[in-house]
């Protein structure tokens, strides 16, 4: 069996799955339950001077019948007395000495940082996570993302912490910034042992369209919250990759953002995450999801021949390149497998209206046909097709040539004028604008009229 245990910047854990600092790690009760269920570590709900929360704290984004593809909260850091949190950390560590318990911290002055780091250390925490990410409420008080957005301030605070910390220090970054590597570099300069990302994204999760207020609604009003859940994974993956690829950061990364199953976790790891943190999925489905995550990761490692987590961390990074380094000679073309096609024609309308008019309909069949010479290989049809493997993208170049935009630029072979002959779409056929007219108009008529339109003269509406 593969070994799922990790040593993340000196923090050991039986598996790479940690609960992120959030409501699921609010108490010793929850953390013990999670460890019992199989979680490898927990980042305690952020401790500091206890806060007072509002009622009505979470909002959700549903997609069709799927609940919580996105989630946001306006809850602040721990509202429990520090002494209670510390006592419970100690109790958890006694019961689970080999699991990772990381103290998430957020205070203001140097003295406060020193005090809380020492106290957490004394309670037995295996490491610290400095919360420079919270994008709501705490940032209005100069903490959380207010720090994460100011690399100099961030660096200073990290330096304060490093003065007393005897355990590894992780800096949690906010994605509410244009270049995530800047605060990551500041964390490194400050002496941090690792970074974790992403914290939540500033968001308004929805608007109550009857009462004209943003969700979650607090007495008829609302405020921006922090966005997370499956919808944020793509943003997180990109930021994890940016930090992992930066030559000067060179810090272990704890990946956070949209992880709800083993596959999400593997993706984070392949882009450089040495541990992963989960919150929304645990809030949605409970701690039991860990069973699927560990078994899926194990199965994947067995199938791919990975024996340790280290072997897969960052495995996809060499294949993530700047756009200018992609091979422009590579060409794929859509291929419809007629025997699988159910005739929904979503590919047709998607290509017609959203891409390059490279699919046609033929009389007598509902199976659309690819117009190969128009197909630019964009994937759209294969993405909208509801049938597995019905539309495949197949390579049509010989695979012998390699030419990048960078190469073309260096060779002086790129368009430079507005009407340059070298424009990529210059010789691509598009229909005449007026050929569009009448194609969809009949669909705006009700009932039989849409079918009979053209056959009979429909009297004007009364």
């Amino acid at each position: 069996m593969p070994d799922l245990s990790i040593n993340f910047a000196g923090i050991k854990s039986p598996n790479p799955f940690w609960l992120a600092s959030a409501p699921p790690t609010n108490s010793g009760y929850q953390v013990m339950k999670a460890f019992d269920a199989g979680w490898g570590g927990a980042v305690w709900k952020t401790m500091g001077v206890p806060v007072v929360n509002v009622s009505s704290r979470y909002g959700g984004v549903n997609y069709r019948d799927k609940r919580l593809v996105g989630f946001n909260n306006i809850e602040l850091i721990s509202d429990r007395p520090l002494a209670d949190n510390l006592r419970e950390i100690e109790e958890v560590k006694k019961r689970f000495p080999n699991h990772a318990v990381i103290a998430s911290l957020m205070v203001q002055s140097r003295q406060e940082w020193h005090d809380i780091v020492r106290q957490s250390q004394d309670a037995g925490a295996d490491g610290f996570e400095l919360n420079f990410g919270c994008p709501h409420g705490m940032c209005e008080r100069g903490m959380g993302s207010a720090v994460g957005q100011e690399p100099k301030v961030l660096q200073t605070i990290v330096e304060w912490v490093m003065e007393v910390a005897q355990k590894p220090v992780i800096v949690k970054l906010t994605p509410n910034i244009s270049d995530i590597t800047e605060p990551a570099l500041a964390a490194r300069r400050g002496g941090a042992d690792a970074i974790s990302l992403i914290n939540t994204i500033q968001s308004i999760v929805g608007v109550d369209i009857d009462n004209f207020a943003p969700y979650p609604v607090v007495d008829g009003k609302g405020t921006n919250g922090g966005y997370c859940g499956p919808a944020v994974k793509p943003i997180a993956l990109n930021m994890v990759k940016n930090c992992a690829q930066h030559p000067d950061i060179r810090l272990p990364i704890s990946g956070i953002g949209g992880i709800e199953n083993w596959r999400d976790a593997v993706e984070h790891m392949l882009l450089g995450a040495g541990s992963v943190q989960v919150c929304t999925a645990a809030m949605h489905f409970g701690f039991g999801i860990i069973r699927e995550m560990t078994s899926g990761l194990e199965q994947y490692m067995v199938e791919k021949g990975f024996e340790t987590i280290d072997q897969l961390v960052g495995k996809a990074l060499p294949n993530v390149l700047p756009w200018e380094d992609l091979n422009m000679k590579y060409k794929v073309t859509a291929n419809i497998h007629a025997e699988k096609c159910i005739g929904c024609q979503l590919c047709y309308t998607a290509c017609e209206d959203g891409a390059h008019q490279a699919i046609r309909l033929n009389a007598g069949t509902r199976v659309p046909e690819i117009i190969e010479e128009n197909c630019v290989g964009c994937n759209l049809c294969s993405l909208v097709c509801p049938v597995e493997q019905c539309i495949t993208m197949e390579r049509t170049d010989a695979g012998t040539q390699h030419l990048t935009w960078k190469g073309r630029t260096e060779a002086g072979d790129v368009p430079v004028e507005f009407n340059d002959e070298k424009a990529g779409g210059r010789h691509h056929w598009v229909p005449e604008p007026a050929a569009a007219l009448g194609k969809e108009r009949h669909k705006t008529l009700p009932g039989k009229a849409r079918v009979l339109n053209g056959e009979t003269e429909m009297p004007a509406e009364a």
Binding site: R64, D65, K66, Q345, R366, P446, G447, T456, A462
Partner: protein, 441 residues
């Protein structure tokens, strides 16, 4: 057999005749509507005789716009809820759903349609209203799916409309002829009340139009006359003994059933004659009324029945037994039905022939003839210049519904020979526009 005990109360009746397509709640509607792919040039629309923009109304339900969904449905078909429940969706919209080709359950379009329309019926929301008055008026004969649909559309086009109905309730066979497990009286009457409140046509119940004098009066008082008269009584078979007690027509039996529920008595052993959808209904209904044995007798082979496969399955599912390749020769009994004398048949090159000497008597205490409805040719002969085809169907322009007497227009069973509610509703909408075109000249 006797899967069902004889219902003695309304509650027991409702249990035996539980709705095949019960109403959805918001959660089920959300889940089901989420599955719709929003096909381009959707096959479900093409399969719908009334051309409802199905992907559109499903998308509207999905986005929480039930009112808009109901509008989409009613703009194409005024019998929106009724059709959602009584349409043979298995062979229409749902049968055309592309999911069928993937061996995935098709979208429950009928139930979604009823979900949306029921919401507005319950709320009484005003979606439609009469159009600007044209000063002209139309008489509609028959308050069935054709007549009521024509009345709605004509009101929307600004005509005064009077509907003359022989019976006491509107919707025709929807309330008098459809199987009770497909739609309840309450919900169809609620939809009729909703439509009347929206459009404000007048309905004169218990007002049959039977005579030349009555027709002349209508001809003088109205600018056009719409015939939505449907079909007549069950056709006589011309068999000896057909007048025996407990030998009844399916249409008459079902009409009684719809109005009097558990108070309708059924025989202990019932023979239903016929192989169409009405025969399946009558057989199913007999079984649900507690008959111990129900036999469906058809003169050809099983696979030659006119009924939809799912309708036969439904009948089989409640214990009905098929008896095929038999033709009735005589209804036997002394005053009361005591059996049917059959002769065995065989089909050769599509022709049915009787096998000499193969007669036998199948005992029973009730016979239900589901062998088709007669055309109302006598009544139609009162209309000057009105021509019928060889099967007694009114001849009318396919796009305008105008008959060979220019003042008369037709839709529904009297025109198409007998089809679904949805066909009548779709035809009548078109015909109303034909009337409008005629009166706008």
């Amino acid at each position: 057999m006797a899967e069902y005990s004889i219902p003695t109360t309304e509650q027991e009746f409702q249990l035996n005749f539980a709705q095949l397509k019960p109403h959805m709640n918001r959660t089920e509607a959300l889940y089901e509507s989420s599955r719709c792919l929003f096909c381009f040039d959707a096959p479900c629309i093409k399969a719908c005789p009334s051309g409802i923009d199905i992907p559109q109304f499903i998308r509207q339900i999905n986005s929480g716009n039930e009112t808009g969904a109901a509008r989409t449905i009613y703009e194409a078909n005024y019998f929106g809820n009724a059709c959602g429940k009584v349409c043979p969706t298995e062979v229409l919209c749902e049968g055309a759903c592309v999911y069928n080709l993937q061996d995935v359950k098709p979208i429950e379009i009928g139930r979604l349609q009823s979900y949306a329309t029921t919401q507005v019926i319950k709320s009484g929301k005003q979606l439609f209203g009469p159009g600007a008055a044209t000063g002209k008026s139309v008489a509609v004969i028959g308050a069935g799916p054709a007549g009521i649909s024509a009345a709605c559309e004509l009101r929307a086009l600004g005509y005064e409309v009077d509907v003359f109905e022989a019976k006491a309730q509107p919707s025709g066979l929807t309330v008098y002829g459809v199987a009770p497990y497909k739609i309840t009286n309450e919900e169809i009457l609620a939809e009729m009340a909703y439509l009347q409140a929206q459009f404000g046509y007048r309905v004169h119940f218990n007002s049959p139009i039977n005579s030349r004098e009555e027709l002349s009066k209508l001809e003088n008082e109205y600018d056009a006359i719409f015939l939505g008269i449907g079909l007549g009584k069950t056709s006589e078979l011309g068999l000896p003994g057909e007048d025996k007690i407990n030998c009844t027509g399916a249409v008459e039996f079902i009409a009684e059933l719809r109005q009097h529920h558990h108070e309708v008595a059924v025989g202990r052993k019932v023979i239903v004659l016929g192989g169409g959808n009405t025969a399946m209904d009558a057989a199913s209904e007999s079984s649900r009324l507690g008959a111990e044995q129900v036999i469906l007798a058809y003169r050809r082979a099983k696979d030659e029945m006119g009924a939809y496969g799912f309708e036969y399955d439904l009948a089989k599912g409640v214990g009905v037994k098929g008896l095929f390749n038999v033709a009735p020769v005589e209804i036997v009994g002394n005053g009361y039905v005591s059996g049917v004398k059959f002769i065995r048949t065989e089909t050769k090159d599509g022709k049915v022939s009787e096998i000499a000497g193969s007669e036998f008597v199948e005992p029973c205490d009730m016979v239900i003839k589901a062998t088709g409805q007669a055309k109302q040719t006598n009544f139609l002969s009162l209309i000057p210049g009105l021509k019928l085809d060889g099967k007694g169907r009114i001849i009318a322009n396919a796009h305008t519904g105008q008959t060979t007497n220019p003042k008369y227009f037709a839709s529904g069973d009297a025109w198409n020979g007998g089809a679904e509610v949805v066909n009548a509703a779709a035809e009548a909408k078109l015909t109303a526009r034909g009337i409008h075109a005629y009166l706008s000249k």
